[in-house]
Symmetry: C2
Subunit: 102 residues, 2 copies
């Protein structure tokens, strides 16, 4: 249950962002070894007070932190990471965490 959570702030051109993200970035990221599930938001990302300033959240699921580190450190993981600055014109925050159910 390890996760990479990528939070993309609203980019300058959302249409160009979406085109790159879904046509180029998703196919690259789906090649990462050990990736079990890849979730993105559909519709706006809200807060209880209104809009969040985020355009897209991606949640990449791995079995555990060892698998995550191996996958993200692989040539495919490095290629996906290197692609991010080419389209994330609003910036992106990447979080890495292990999770458990409570």
């Amino acid at each position: 249950m390890a996760r990479v959570v990528v939070q993309y702030k609203t980019p300058k051109d959302t249409a160009a962002f979406d085109r790159h993200y879904f046509e180029k970035h998703v196919p690259l990221a789906k090649k990462i070894p050990g990736l079990r599930k890849y979730e993105v938001n559909k519709g706006p990302i809200m807060t209880p007070q209104g809009p969040s300033g985020l355009h897209l959240i991606a949640i990449l699921h791995f079995d555990d932190i060892a698998a995550l580190q191996k996958g993200m450190g692989s040539p495919e993981g490095q290629a996906a990471g290197a692609d991010v600055p080419t389209f994330a014109t609003g910036g992106a925050d990447v979080l890495i965490l292990d999770t458990r159910e409570v």
Copy 2:
């Protein structure tokens, strides 16, 4: 596949935070109608550059946005929300999103 993601920044007293969170807040939040799964991080929340400044991330799973809104708007959801400022001394960001797999 709707999610509430709560990101707690590092509080002033992490031991006091954890005690309140796991002894009081989790039992309150688990009463929210429609909550299907409740994940929290185990271990530190990292970024590729190092520590994230976040102490705890909670991911609450609901079937869809309608169920999420109903649950969070219920008396149990309101009680869990009202509890947050009593222990989140570092602040907390709440995101609400619908997700799909890619």
